[in-house]
C-alpha cells in the first residue's frame, strides 16, 4: 500500500509535463527545494495519516557536469514501524535546465520486501539500461527502448510543474512517456481548470487541477486520480488524491522551503 501511495503521488505528478516531443524549459525547479507531505489513507471514511513523503532537490557535481538530484523519500510514521516499516528512496539525476534524466534509482524497503531498481539513460543509443536487484534476481539487466524525452517517474513529476498551464484550455490533454518497472508507459494528463485549495498552514491557494491516467487515454483509469499544483511561481504540488480498489489515498503538502 505504501509503495502504491508513493507511486501514485509520483505517477500522478508524472503525466503532465511535456506537451510535445520537445524538452521542457525549467524555470521553476531549483536546487535547495524541500517539500514535505503527509500521506493518508481513507479507512471507513476516516483519513489515517500513515507516512511522510519528502521531495528534495540538490546540486550534484561530477567531474565535468552539474546535475540536479531529485530525491523523493517515503517513510512510515514511527507508530506504524513495528507493524509495517517503509523506507522508500527514489532519485533522479537530471539536467537542471531540461529535467531530462541521466540516471534513476529506486530503493524500496517495505516490511520484509526489498527491491532496487536503476535506469541508466543512454539517449544516444535510445535505450535505458534497467538493473534490478531483489530476492531471486541479482543484477538482472534489461534494455528498455526510449526516445530523447522519455523520463522516469521522479523527473516526470517535477517536469509537470514546469508546464505553461496559463496557456492551456480546460480539457487540454498532454501525454508523456516514462519508464516504469522497466517498461515504457504513456501517461495522459488532463487540465481541469483552477480551484482554490487549502494548503495546510499556508492558507488557501489557487491551484491548477489536473487528472492523470496511465495509457494514451483516460478511459481505462479506475477511480479518480487528481493533482493540484499551485498557480504561482512556486508551482507546488499542493494536493494529490487517488482512488484505489481498497479506499482513497490523499497526499497533502504540509511544509516547504525553497
Amino acid at each position: 500500500m505504501f509503495q502504491k501511495i508513493l507511486y501514485i503521488s509520483l505517477f500522478i505528478g508524472v503525466g503532465l509535463f511535456s506537451t510535445s516531443s520537445t524538452s521542457v524549459e525549467n524555470k521553476y525547479i531549483k536546487s535547495g527545494e524541500n517539500l514535505t507531505f503527509t500521506a493518508s489513507f481513507n479507512v471507513s471514511g476516516i483519513m489515517t495519516d500513515v507516512a511522510e513523503v519528502k521531495m528534495q532537490t540538490s546540486t550534484v557535481k561530477t567531474k565535468t557536469r552539474e546535475l540536479l538530484r531529485l530525491k523523493c523519500t517515503a517513510s512510515t510514521y514511527a507508530k506504524f514501524d513495528s507493524y509495517f516499516r517503509v523506507r522508500d528512496l527514489y532519485e533522479s539525476y537530471v539536467n537542471p535546465e531540461t529535467l531530462i534524466p541521466s540516471l534513476f534509482k529506486r530503493n524500496i524497503e517495505e516490511g520484509t520486501y526489498k527491491k532496487e531498481l536503476k535506469y541508466l539513460f543512454k539517449r544516444k543509443s535510445k535505450v535505458a539500461i534497467s538493473t534490478l536487484n531483489k530476492k531471486g534476481r541479482v543484477n538482472f539487466k534489461t534494455n528498455v527502448p526510449i526516445d530523447y524525452n522519455t523520463m522516469d517517474i521522479v523527473s516526470a513529476i517535477y517536469s509537470i510543474r514546469t508546464l505553461d498551464f496559463e496557456s492551456f484550455n480546460i480539457g487540454k490533454r498532454v501525454t508523456k512517456q516514462l519508464v516504469v518497472d522497466s517498461k515504457v508507459e504513456t501517461v495522459t494528463v488532463k487540465y481541469l481548470g483552477k480551484e482554490d485549495i487549502k494548503v495546510g498552514k499556508y492558507g488557501t491557494k489557487t491551484c491548477y487541477k489536473l487528472s492523470v491516467g496511465v495509457g494514451a487515454g483516460l478511459k481505462n483509469v479506475k477511480g479518480g486520480k487528481y493533482i493540484w499544483i499551485t498557480a504561482d511561481n512556486d508551482r507546488l504540488p499542493a494536493l494529490i488524491k487517488a482512488s484505489v480498489p481498497v479506499g482513497n489515498i490523499q497526499i497533502r503538502l504540509t511544509n516547504y522551503n525553497k
Partner: protein, 117 residues
C-alpha cells in the same frame, strides 16, 4: 432487550478499547460511540425499570475510556518519523554511488547532453 443492548455495547466498547491502542486509533471512534450509545440506552431503560444497572454502566464507562484514549492520542501525540540514521546513510551512499556511475559514463553523458541541449 436491555441485556442484548448491553452485550452489543460491551462488544463495541472492547473493540474500541483495543483499536484505540493501535496506530489506527482514530478508527476506534466507531465501535466506541456505538458502545456508548447502546450502553446508555440500556442503562436508562434498566434504571427506569429499577433493574441492576451495573452492567450497562460498565459498558458506558469502557466506551468512554476508549473515546478518551483515542482523543488523547489525537491531541497529545504528533505523528513523527523515526530519526533513522541507517536510512539517511543509505541515501547519502546512494548519491555517492550515483556520482561514480555518472562519472564512469561521463564521456557518453557528454555526448548525450550535447545532443539534448
Amino acid at each position: 432487550m436491555n441485556k442484548f443492548l448491553s452485550i452489543l455495547g460491551i462488544i463495541g466498547a472492547i473493540l474500541g478499547l483495543i483499536i484505540s491502542f493501535l496506530p489506527i486509533s482514530n478508527l476506534a471512534i466507531f465501535p466506541a460511540v456505538i458502545g456508548f450509545i447502546l450502553g446508555l440506552i440500556a442503562y436508562l431503560s434498566t434504571k427506569k425499570k429499577n433493574g441492576n444497572t451495573s452492567f450497562p454502566r460498565i459498558v458506558v464507562l469502557l466506551s468512554l475510556l476508549a473515546i478518551i484514549i483515542l482523543t488523547g492520542k489525537q491531541l497529545l501525540f504528533e505523528d513523527k518519523v523515526e530519526n533513522d540514521t541507517e536510512f539517511i546513510e543509505k541515501t547519502e551512499q546512494s548519491e555517492e554511488d550515483a556520482v561514480k556511475e555518472l562519472e564512469e559514463l561521463e564521456e557518453e553523458l557528454d555526448e548525450e547532453l550535447e545532443e539534448i541541449e
